[in-house]
Symmetry: C2
Subunit: 287 residues, 2 copies
C-alpha cells in the first residue's frame, strides 16, 4: 500500500489549509468557500514531453507544474486560490523524491497564496503532474480574455523572453495589476511570443504587429527570432489602449513592460524586421 503511506506523508508535508478550505485533503472531495465567480485552469506536465529527470530535479518538476497552471490565472488577471494536484508516479520514483516534488510545489503555493486543497496519487509508467487551479473573482467580467484587443491598442509584454527557466515565476501580481490598469486582452507566453500573439489576434479578430528588434531578450539570449518562437517564458503578452500606457507600466512594477508594437484592423500576427518588413520565422505559421 505505497499510496496510502505516501498520501499520509503528502498530507503532513502540505500542512493545515487556510480557513477558506473547510474540508482539505483526505475526504472524498475538498470543500472550499468561493466567491461569485472563479477562473479555473488545468495543466499537465509529462516526463519526456515537458521535462526530463536528467535536466530537471523532482523539486523543479513540482514548481513547474504549479507555475504552469498559475500562469494561466495570471493571464486572466485572476488571483491564486486553490490548487488540486494529481500525481502519476512510476515505481522507480522514491517516496522521498515525490515528497521533494510536493515540498517545492508547496513553497510556490505558500509564496503565491495558493492553498493545495486536494489531490490524487496513482501509479503509471512516467512521472506526470496535473494541476487544476482556481482563483476567485468578484465578477466574471473582471477576467481578461484573449478576445478584447482593439485596433490602435499597444502591444506589451512583461519581463524578458528566451530564458526557458526551469523554475519560471508566474506573473500573478502583475497580471492582476494589469487587469486593473485596463488591458484589453492578455495571454501568457507559453508557445513563444509569435504564436501566442497569433492566438490573441485570432480570438480578438485583429492584426497584431510586433517589431522583432523590440523583443526584450533575456541576458545571454542573442537571437530575437529564437526569443520569438521559443516557449515557456511565462511572461504576459497584452494589449491596451494607448492612453493607458503609463498605467500598464506602473502595474508591471519592477518586472517591467516592453512595448512591442500595435494592434491594427485585419487578421493574424505580423513580425516586422528593422525596416518594417514582414519577417518569416521557422516554426511559426502566421495566418
Amino acid at each position: 500500500m505505497r499510496e496510502l503511506a505516501l498520501i499520509a506523508q503528502v498530507r503532513e508535508a502540505l500542512g493545515p489549509p487556510p480557513d477558506r478550505v473547510v474540508v482539505g485533503p483526505g475526504d472524498d472531495a475538498a470543500v472550499v468557500r468561493t466567491g461569485p465567480a472563479q477562473a479555473v485552469s488545468i495543466d499537465t506536465v509529462v516526463e519526456g514531453t515537458h521535462f526530463r529527470l536528467d535536466t530537471h530535479s523532482h523539486a523543479d518538476v513540482g514548481h513547474l507544474a504549479l507555475a504552469t497552471a498559475l500562469s494561466d490565472l495570471a493571464a486572466m488577471g485572476a488571483p491564486a486560490g486553490e490548487a488540486y494536484v494529481a500525481l502519476v508516479l512510476p515505481p522507480r520514483i522514491e517516496n522521498s523524491e515525490a515528497l521533494a516534488l510536493v515540498a517545492s510545489m508547496r513553497a510556490l503555493a505558500d509564496r503565491t497564496g495558493t492553498a493545495i486543497a486536494g489531490g490524487d496519487v496513482t501509479s503509471g509508467p512516467v512521472l506526470i503532474v496535473t494541476v487544476t487551479v482556481n482563483g476567485t473573482l468578484a465578477d466574471p467580467g473582471d477576467a481578461v480574455t484573449r478576445a478584447g484587443a482593439n485596433p490602435g491598442d499597444l502591444v506589451g509584454v512583461t519581463g524578458t523572453l528566451g530564458a526557458a527557466a526551469r523554475r519560471p515565476e508566474p506573473r500573478l501580481e502583475e497580471g492582476a495589476a494589469l487587469a486593473r490598469a485596463g488591458v484589453s486582452a492578455m495571454i501568457d507566453v507559453s508557445d513563444g511570443v509569435a504564436t501566442d500573439a497569433l492566438h490573441l489576434a485570432e480570438e480578438s479578430g485583429v492584426l497584431v504587429r510586433i517589431e522583432l528588434a523590440r523583443l526584450p531578450l533575456h541576458p545571454g539570449v542573442e537571437d530575437p527570432e529564437l526569443a520569438a518562437t521559443g516557449g515557456d517564458d511565462y511572461e504576459l503578452l497584452f494589449t491596451i489602449a494607448a492612453d493607458r500606457r503609463p498605467a500598464a507600466e506602473e502595474a508591471a512594477g519592477a518586472v517591467g513592460v516592453t512595448w512591442l508594437g500595435e494592434v491594427a484592423a485585419g487578421a493574424g500576427a505580423e513580425l516586422l524586421g528593422p525596416a518594417g518588413e514582414p519577417v518569416e520565422l521557422r516554426g511559426f505559421e502566421h495566418s
Copy 2:
C-alpha cells in the same frame, strides 16, 4: 500540430457551455459563476493501472474518468457543476479515438448536468485522463464528510456490490438526497466496502460493524467476501441515525438501500460472519 487541430475538434464536440460558464474552453482559463462554497475532487485514470485498452473501449475510458470524479461529489452529497479534463495521449491513439472518449464523457456530462468547461491535451507514453470536478454548495456545512458517524447509527449502502462495471453510474441524485435525509457520514465504494468502511470509521473515530451475509450482491456475484473486498462499485456507503432509516430509504429511490450493520464506540471496521463472529478477509486489513 496534432494538438491544435484535435483541440479544435474537441471544442466542437463539447458544444456550447451553459450560461454559468462565462468563458469556456479555449482561453487561458475558464471563468464560471460559483456559489458561496463548492466541493472539488480530482481523479486520474491511467492505462495499465486502472484500465486496459483490450478490455475497455476509448468511450468506456471517457465515461470511467468522469464517473470516478463525479462519484466523489456524490459521496459529499454535492451536485455536479463543472469538469476540467486533462488528456495525455500516446501517438498510437487516433484523433477519432480521442474524440470517441470525449463524446462518451460528454454524454455522461449532459446526463448529470455537468459542464465540461476547460481542458488540456498533451502527449505521453500511455493514455491518461485526469478530471477535476466541482459542485456548488449553498453552505460548506451542507457537504457530508467521512467524519460524522456516531455510535448507534445504522450503516447502509446503495445499489449492489461486486459488479465492477466498465461504465459505473455515479450516484449523484441519491447522494444529494441522502445528504438532505441527514446521513451522518458518507463515502463512495472505490476500494471495496470493507476498506471504505475502515476509512469512514477512522475519520469518524468509531467502530463500523458490517454483517457479510447482508451485502447486496450484484446478479452473478456469489461470494460475499469478493464483494466486500472488490473495488470500483461506485455505490455510496453511509451512516445515519436509526430514526432516519425511512428517510434514507426514500432518498435512495429505485437504486435502493441495504442495511449492513451499525456503528459502535471503538475503532476500525469489523466484518461479521453468520454467527456474529469477526471474519478475516484476504486483502483487507482491519485496524
